[in-house]
């Protein structure tokens, strides 16, 4: 169903002003979060930076934005905005024909998800510190902002978003499951279109900042929903559609970098469920005390689980079955597609447990964002109180079992495309889901 058919919706999306207003608001909030981390209280649960980034933003991102709007967050994300403006030398005008800065093309060997796999893993290894220490959160946020700006000067388009952003990678992976997509309406119109302004830019807007050719879009992974092509297409050939969940997964990706992203996310959810939601104090101290011997052990286990154990077991499980003899890299990547909905629901279930428990901090931090004793809205003294705790276990159970069903259905469609039976894939999904249920409930 085409959402952009309504002229009012379309006008709203085509106009640059609504998006600009959101960008400015988001950027202000982002810069404030960075400042709050530096000048506010070092107590994480009372600092705007921690509370708004890791409780409020994270909850909205993983529970609402990604499952329902795919890369919708990227459409309003403030991180690349300053870089965009500098790169174009303008706030509203499109990118100039001749680049203002270096405008290099990203080298071919980096044009994949591996850098994002690495950047996410790095953040993940230090997450216990980042998640709890305002200054460290601010350093990470500021680093992202400046890296995005720097890469905009050196490379063309949005190199940071496309190849480096630690969150951008998994948002893109999971965006394939969202019930929304930006696609062309008619292939033939694109075939005859002279100059392809959606990719090359025109007076109406920049060429795709995410370096994809909208005419060739078949999945959501790399389209940042920036809406430029909606503005530049002279033939009104771009549509935003509502569609069934996980439509992109019917034609699975055969790329190993994306497959590994799925394993990394799955493994990280399992490890966090154990370390953060479990009762082992030793694990928490090891994760928190970075660069101590215990942390190195933790890091080694972390890396082994996400890069060797989970993918290795998967490889083993699918290749020992009768039809799995000749499983190559391509087949392995295709066969790991069901881990995308499964991993998303793991993160939903994991996030439910700490978001609802710590939601009261949001109201308190709103009144006293820096932890300096202000009371702007009279909610600063609000006592910590877990919300809806009776509802968390059933909701997690539903999310995990639902995710398993979703993964199993996906496996039935994708395993044949990898030339294997879906049985080992479903068994693997069942096993990791039982493990996650055991860790969380």
């Amino acid at each position: 169903m085409e959402l952009t058919r309504s002229p009012r919706v379309k006008a709203l999306l085509k106009s640059r002003y609504p998006q600009l207003v959101l960008f400015v608001l988001m950027l202000a909030g982002f810069v404030f979060a960075i400042l709050a981390g530096f000048i506010g209280t070092p107590v994480g649960s009372h600092n705007f930076s921690i509370v708004f980034v890791w409780i409020a933003w994270w909850a909205i991102l993983i529970l609402v934005a990604v499952p329902f709007f795919g890369r919708g967050w990227c459409a309003v994300c403030p991180i690349p905005v300053a870089g965009d403006w500098l790169q174009r030398g303008a706030v509203l005008n499109p990118a100039p024909k001749t680049p203002k800065w270096l405008g290099l093309r990203v080298p071919a060997k980096f044009r994949n998800m591996w850098m994002q796999n690495i950047s996410f893993t790095l953040v993940a290894l230090f997450s216990s510190v980042i998640l709890t220490t305002p200054v460290v959160t601010s350093v990470v946020l500021a680093a992202m902002l400046f890296l995005a700006i720097g890469l905009s000067m050196v490379f063309e388009r949005r190199a940071f978003c496309r190849y480096l952003c630690p969150v951008g990678g998994f948002i893109g992976l999971y965006a394939q499951t969202a019930p929304i997509e930006l696609r062309i309406k008619d292939k033939n119109v694109c075939a005859k279109c002279v100059g392809k302004p959606c990719y090359n830019g025109s007076d109406l807007g920049s060429g795709c900042p995410w370096d994809v050719f909208p005419g060739g879009l078949t999945k959501n992974t790399y389209c940042g929903l920036c809406l430029e092509c909606l503005r530049t297409c002279p033939h009104d050939n771009i549509a935003i559609n509502a569609r069934p969940f996980s439509a992109d997964l019917a034609r699975p990706s055969a790329k190993l970098d994306e497959a590994f992203k799925a394993f990394i996310m799955l493994g990280a959810a399992l490890i966090y469920a154990y370390v953060l939601m479990g009762s082992s104090g030793a694990a928490k101290l090891a994760a928190y005390n970075v660069f101590t011997p215990a942390w190195f052990v933790y890091a080694a286990i972390f890396l082994t689980v996400i890069f060797i154990l989970l993918p290795g077991l998967y490889w083993l499980v699918i290749s020992i079955t009768p039809r799995g003899r000749g499983v190559g890299v391509r087949e392995f990547a295709i066969a790991s597609t069901p881990l995308i909905p499964l991993g998303l629901m793991f993160w939903v279930a994991f996030s439910l447990s700490f978001v609802l428990t710590n939601a009261t901090y949001i109201l308190a931090a709103l009144s006293d964002p820096l932890g300096l004793g202000w009371n702007l809205f009279g909610t600063a003294a609000l006592a910590w109180q877990p919300l809806l705790s009776a509802f968390i276990a059933p909701a997690q159970s539903l999310a995990l079992v639902g995710g398993l069903a979703w993964a199993a259905r996906t496996a039935q469609k994708t395993a044949p495309q990898a030339g294997i039976s879906s049985a080992p894939v479903i068994s693997y999904c069942l096993a990791v889901t039982l493990l996650m249920i055991w860790l969380l409930l």
């Binding site: 107590v43 994480g44 649960s45 009372h46 216990s128 510190v129 709890t132 220490t133 370390v275 953060l276 939601m277 479990g278 009762s279 082992s280 104090g281 030793a282 928490k284 101290l285 928190y288 039809r323 700490f354 428990t357 710590n358 910590w384 877990p386 705790s389 009776a390 276990a393 059933p394 159970s397 995990l400 079992v401 398993l404 069903a405 199993a408 259905r409 039935q412 395993a415 044949p416 030339g419 039976s421 879906s422 479903i426 069942l430 889901t433 039982l434 249920i437 055991w438 409930l441």
Partner: protein, 153 residues
């Protein structure tokens, strides 16, 4: 038709799995006492088990800074100053697994200072695991019944 009936049975089994009341606990309620040591960022022992109906008495001892202990869903809590013992008494009348959480900001990892209380068997775990197995069964059956001729590839 046969398969529809099978699916119906599986659905029924799922409902039973989710909502069936647990067999009544046979052991008479007793008073259970625990001494729990709290330190950054864990309880020791980290997990305690009682039977439904038991009266739970927790002596919380802090070995470093001030810590609290809040029992999810029961909503009861205590705070222990370093070196002092605080005692919390409540009747464990809700079955299942519940997290114990520190409710006094005690350091960076405070939001993740967690323990567990099991009252009887871990209901949601067994229900969810059973449901997961059922869901897989139904999906496999559903596929078989809908595309009996498919020979993938």
């Amino acid at each position: 038709m046969r398969f529809n009936f099978l699916l119906f049975l599986l659905g029924l089994a799922g409902l039973v799995m989710m909502f069936a009341p647990l067999p009544v606990q046979s052991s008479p309620p007793v008073e259970r006492e625990f001494r729990i040591e709290a330190s950054q960022y864990a309880y020791s022992p980290g997990e305690i088990s009682v039977n439904p109906g038991d009266t739970v008495k927790i002596h919380l001892v802090s070995t470093d800074v001030v810590h609290g202990l809040y029992v999810d869903e029961y909503g009861v809590s205590i705070t222990a100053d370093p070196g002092q013992t605080a005692t919390l008494t409540f009747v464990a009348d809700k079955p299942g697994s519940f997290r114990l959480r520190c409710n006094v900001t005690c350091g960076a990892m405070h939001p993740f200072m967690i323990g567990k209380l099991y009252v009887g068997p871990n209901l949601w775990f067994y229900r969810s695991a059973g449901l997961a197995a059922l869901v897989i069964l139904s999906i496999v059956f559903w596929k078989r019944s809908n595309q009996p001729t498919i020979t993938a590839n």
